[in-house]
Structure formats: C-alpha cells, structure tokens
C-alpha cells in the first residue's frame, strides 16, 4: 500500500466515521472507495501459482489454444511481480515473461526466448497491444492497482441476480487503448463480475465476464473462467484457470533474470 492508497483508505475510514458527510460524498469519491475496498479484500495473498488455458476463437469459430503457467508474488506498496511460462503452442514452449508491475509508472518487463537463450527487455509503456494474439490486451492482464484509474460511481444494478455497484474507471496511465471501462462490482464480495471496455474513440469494444468464482484461504476470490468478447471483430478469448495455489513460498529470488532463464 503506498501513500496515495493509504490516503484514500484513510479518507474512506474518515467518511465512515462521519455518516452525515456521506451525503456529501461525490460519485468520484464513492467510486474510489469501492475500488479501495476491493483492493483491500485481495491484500495479503502472499504468492500464488496457477495453470491457465487460453482459447482464442475467431468469427468463423476456429480455435487456437495456449497453455500458460503463472506465478505471482504480491508486493506490498507496489504492483505485483509475475512470471508467465508458455507450454503451448509447441513452437513457443519455454517462452516466458517476467513482469515487475507498477501502479502508474511503466512496468519492467523481460521476455525470454528459449531458442536463442536470449533475455530481452521489453518496452512495456504501450500496453494496449494484444497478449499473444488474444483479445486480452497487456493492460487487461496486468496487475490491477487502485492508482491505475480514476473512478466514478454510476449506479446500483442487479446483474444475473447479483447486487452490484456499477462504476466507471478511466486509465490514469499513458498509452491505454481505452477511454473508459464500466465495471460491475459484486456488493457482497467486492469482486468484478463484468467489465465493458470502450476504445479510444469511446466506442464499445469488448466485454469481459467472470464465471465460476471460488474462494481460496477463506478470503481470496478467483474466477475459474474469464471470457473476453470483442464486439468490433467478433473474436473472443476464454481463460480457464486451474490448480490455484496460494502461499507456496515463492520469494524475490524466484523473480529475476536468472530464474526467468530457468523457467520451464
């Protein structure tokens, strides 16, 4: 948790102590408060590992599959560190990404190319590009930090029987592919149920839906399935998550250029 997050959480606490001022809470303050609470509820997971299947579908229904293993290390006060290792397609087997994510300043990212045994630093400022040909942009799969957006509470709404806050968020970092995102946040669990993305021209671009939420360590919610549909191209990508494990004992030494080269 960094200073601005601390300040915003303090603001939330202060507001809750003063019920009358709640009336004066602006839509922006309420949107931020929801994001801060959601972030707080995911704090303290330490580290996690998971296996992910990525299924790409085009308009004609042709599919293409990628298998990716993901390791994440929670960094308190900054974005998380993560490593993504490709198992399939076979020609990119062993290719791996190491990412040190940050709230607003650009992430540090390295790509390991196993055929050349080359570690290449990637210019990750522009995260609007697609991740491995999928409908997920790099910015969609990046660690979600409160400071990455500014917020605005829109309304309460029931989505498929779930009571949700609907908030709008605006990227605070440069080079985003979006003008805004509209997110449906589960009121009880503060987890996203749906996010709608609007492109740079503010035209409807994509819809992300979360399915099969499971709770780990009695606290952390992770969706088994995330489906991203591109309304402009008719393409879609489904991420299916398996074998989630938490607090596996990963540390900083598992997230450097040497461990990137050893990743398989």
């Amino acid at each position: 948790m960094n200073i601005s997050m601390l300040r915003s959480s303090l603001a939330v606490i202060a507001l809750s102590l003063l019920p009358f001022s709640l009336l004066a809470q602006t839509a922006e303050e309420k949107g931020l408060a929801i994001a801060v609470e959601a972030d707080k509820r995911d704090e303290g997971f330490g580290d996690s590992t998971a296996n992910m299947t990525m299924e790409l579908r085009n308009k004609q229904g042709d599919t293409s599959i990628r298998y990716i293993r993901i390791k994440t290390l929670e960094i308190i006060g900054d974005g998380d560190k993560s490593m993504s290792i490709f198992d399939e397609p076979a020609d990119v087997k062993g290719t791996a990404f190491l990412t040190f994510s940050h709230a607003v300043k650009p992430d540090e990212q390295w790509l390991y190319l196993p055929a050349l045994k080359r570690v290449k630093r990637i210019n990750s400022k522009n995260k609007s590009g697609p991740f491995m040909g999928s409908e997920f942009a790099y910015e969609d799969i990046a660690s979600q930090e409160v400071e990455k957006y500014t917020y605005k509470y829109l309304r309460d709404e029931t989505l498929d029987g779930i009571d949700c806050y609907v908030i709008e968020r605006y990227p605070a970092y440069e080079h985003s592919g979006y003008t805004r995102q509209v997110a449906w946040i589960n009121k009880a669990e503060y987890r996203p149920e749906k996010i709608v993305f609007y492109d740079r021209k503010n035209t409807l671009l994509k819809t992300l839906t979360y399915d099969g939420y499971q709770q780990y360590l009695d606290k952390y919610w992770r969706a088994d399935q995330m489906n991203m549909e591109n309304h402009q191209t008719g393409k879609s990508t489904t991420l299916t998550w398996r074998d989630y494990q938490f607090k596996t004992g990963l540390n900083d030494r598992d997230f450097n250029k040497n461990s990137l080269k050893r990743a398989r």
Binding site: S64, A90, D91, E108, H175, K257, N258, R264
Partner: protein, 404 residues
C-alpha cells in the same frame, strides 16, 4: 574433455534420479533452398533439400533447483557434406544454491542487445552452415557460475574446449568462391590449440529504463583471425583455405534505454590480439542504433517496428564486412492467433555501396506447424567489391517445421 563433461553431467543426473519422467519436446523440419541463377562454381547446385531434427529433454528436481537439459541437433543436406552435421546444442545440469547458480556441461548463452549484429556475444561459436545470418550457435562446453544480487548479475565462465566455426562445403551454397576447408586441420597460432581453456566474466544490471552489461573474455577468438591457403589453381590462385584461430582479450559493453516508444541500443568491443601475426594490435568495433515500435499502426492490433543500426569497425575490411555500414529493417507483427510476422531489411556498406537484403516471414498453422520463408539478396556485387563471390547467390528458403 567434452566427453568427460558430458559423462559427469549424465552421472550427476543418474545419481539423483527419482522416478519422475522427464519432458520431451522439439521439432522436425524440412527445408527447401532455391537459387535464381546458376552458381559461380559448377560443383554447386540450384536447389537444395534438407531435413533437420532437434529433440529436447528437460527434467527438474527439488522444485526446479536442479535441472537437466538436453538439445540434440542433426541436419541432413542433399548436397553439402558440411551442412550434414550434428551438434549437442545443450547437455547441461544446473543447480541453484540460494543466490548462486551453477551450470556444468554443454550449453549456450546470449549476451547483448542489438538486432543486426551481435558483437559482445562471444561464448558460443557460430554454426555458419545453418544460415548466413550467423544466428545459429554451436553448444559450448562450460562451467558457469552465476550470482543474482540486488546490484546485478555476475556470471563467471570456464570454457575448457574450443568449437571451430562451421563453413559450407564444396557443394554448399551460398559460400565464398574460395572454399574454407574444415576437413583439414585448422591453424592455431599458439601452443595450447583447441584445448585452450578460455575464461569469461560478465556483469549485467538494470536501473529503471536503463539496461546494461560489461563483459570480459580471454581466450580463442570465435572469428578466425585469418585464412591460410592450402590449395591452388593452375594460375597460383588459392582455391581452398583453412581458418587461423588466435588468442584475444576482449572487453565489451552493451546497453539500452527506453525513451517513449524508442529503444536506443549500443554494443562495443575492444579486441586485443595475444598471438599470431597481429599480436599486440587492437581493434575497436561498435554497433549502435534504435528500435521504434508503432503499436496498433493500422488502428487495429498489428504493430510496425523500425530498426536502424550503424556498424563501425576500425579493423581492415577482410575481417568484417561490418566496417562502416547501415542496417535498416522494418518488422510487421500481426499479433494474430498464428503469430504472423514479417521482417525485411538491408545492410548497406557506406563505402562500397554493397548491400545485402533480406525478407523473413513466419506463421503458425494449427497448434504444431510453423512455416518460415526467407529471401536473401546481394546487390552491388561487381568485381572487387566485398560480396563479389555471392553475385549469383540470391535465394529463397522455405522451412516447414513440426513442433512436439
């Protein structure tokens, strides 16, 4: 020496082998190479077929703290006896001990940042018969000790055996008119010869947007320092040569930094000859330039990248064609499910106006097939210019590989 290393690696692996099956992967591929004109030398051909395979094996123990990795490469070429060759690209064990990492066996490492020439990258010998771009490398016997600290990564190498560069054979194409004979013994202009133990040290780190490395190598230069004629025609002109290998000390720096969507890159080496006719002389070489990526340039998801790199060398022309050259390339990345990419560019010598052009394209089909196509051209190849030997050697190459 190589056999001893390989033996001890396998021994180590067997010693700690619990009943976990390793993981096999790799590829088999077929290749076609076709030339547009008849060859300079009638012993060469216009079309070549070839097939290659590279099975890979990987096994790890103790949560990835001990790894055994193998990559065995073999190629069969229709005509070129030198290109029909095998290599142990990798047969190594790696152990992790806290911040230390030890690798023993045959392995490969890559140093550097630039795209069109790899100056500081000296550990592995070039497998030049594979492709003229020199990107393919031979496995190098080594003991490598690496330490990852908060202040950077230090790598120390002991390299106990020298791998000689591969060159196309008499029937191979493209090749220089004068054949480099790798069946005859190469010349080492110092006592220890091929068994000389080379040493290398590298420090690399990053600070924010800056990435940099410092390296030092003491041993046999991977690039021959000269070629010695061993066969002559009726006019006394050499028809075959053998490479001459020399000892060097080489200091290298490499670095890159991001400015917006621009990546600026630099590699430079200072090479000092320690043996042979050049003993005591120095050469300075550098490559510097930028890469600019235009993300989503059509308004869609594809990227357009530009690479511009300038090559400089104060050495004489015979040693390197990269003496005062400009490399320019455009990379089109579709970011589609098939990972379609096209890279095209030119390397132009500012003094002689000789140019080498290339187009490389690749696309995946289904989950397992990868199709790669290449076009290479040589321009400004009039008599007396550096690429005169290659004047009829423009060619296309198509590779179809099945990955498993």
């Amino acid at each position: 020496m190589r056999r001893i290393l390989a033996g001890s690696v396998v021994g180590l692996a067997v010693m700690q082998m619990p009943a976990i099956a390793g993981e096999w992967s790799g590829y088999v591929s077929g290749q076609f190479r076709g030339f547009f004109e008849d060859p300079v030398d009638p012993r060469q051909h216009n079309t070549y077929l070839s097939a290659a395979a590279e099975p890979r094996f990987f096994q790890s123990w103790q949560g990835g703290d001990h790894n055994l990795e193998a990559r065995l490469f073999y190629r069969v070429d229709q005509y070129d006896d030198n290109r029909t060759h095998g290599d142990i690209r990798e047969l190594s064990w790696t152990g992790v001990f806290d911040t230390l990492e030890l690798t023993a066996g045959i392995s490969k490492v890559f140093w550097g940042v630039t795209e069109t020439q790899h100056l500081v990258d000296i550990i592995n010998q070039t497998d030049l018969v594979e492709n003229v771009d020199g990107e393919d490398k031979l496995g190098q016997p080594m003991i490598k000790l690496s330490s990852a600290q908060d202040w950077g990564i230090i790598d120390f190498f002991v390299l106990p055996y020298f791998r000689e560069r591969t060159f196309p054979g008499v029937e191979g194409r493209p090749r220089p008119e004068v054949v480099v004979d790798t069946d005859s013994d190469a010349i080492y202009d110092f006592k220890a010869g091929q068994d000389h133990t080379d040493l290398a040290l590298r420090y690399s780190h990053y600070i924010g947007e800056w990435e940099f490395g410092l390296s030092y190598f003491s041993g046999i230069d991977r690039l021959p320092s000269d070629f010695f004629p061993i066969a002559f025609d009726a006019n006394g002109q050499p028809t075959a040569v053998v490479p001459v290998y020399s000892l060097i000390n080489q200091a290298g720096i490499d670095g890159q930094v991001f400015f917006g969507d621009w990546t600026w890159k630099l590699e430079a080496i200072n090479k000092e000859y320690r043996s042979g006719t050049r003993k005591g002389s120095h050469t300075l070489q550098s490559v510097a330039g930028f890469e600019y990526t235009w993300v989503g340039f059509t308004g869609g998801v594809s990227d357009l990248g530009f690479v511009v790199e300038y090559h400089y060398s104060d050495a004489n022309k015979r040693e390197t064609i990269f003496d005062n050259d400009l490399a320019t390339a455009v990379r089109y990345v579709m970011n589609d499910a098939q990972s379609t990419e096209i890279l095209m560019g030119f390397l132009t010598d500012a003094d002689t106006r000789t140019a080498a052009g290339f187009i490389e394209a690749s696309r995946r089909f289904g989950q397992h097939w990868l199709l790669e196509a290449e076009l290479r051209t040589y321009n400004g190849t009039e008599e007396g210019r550096p690429l005169y030997s290659f004047r009829f050697d423009n060619f296309v190459q198509i590779d179809l590989a099945y990955y498993f």
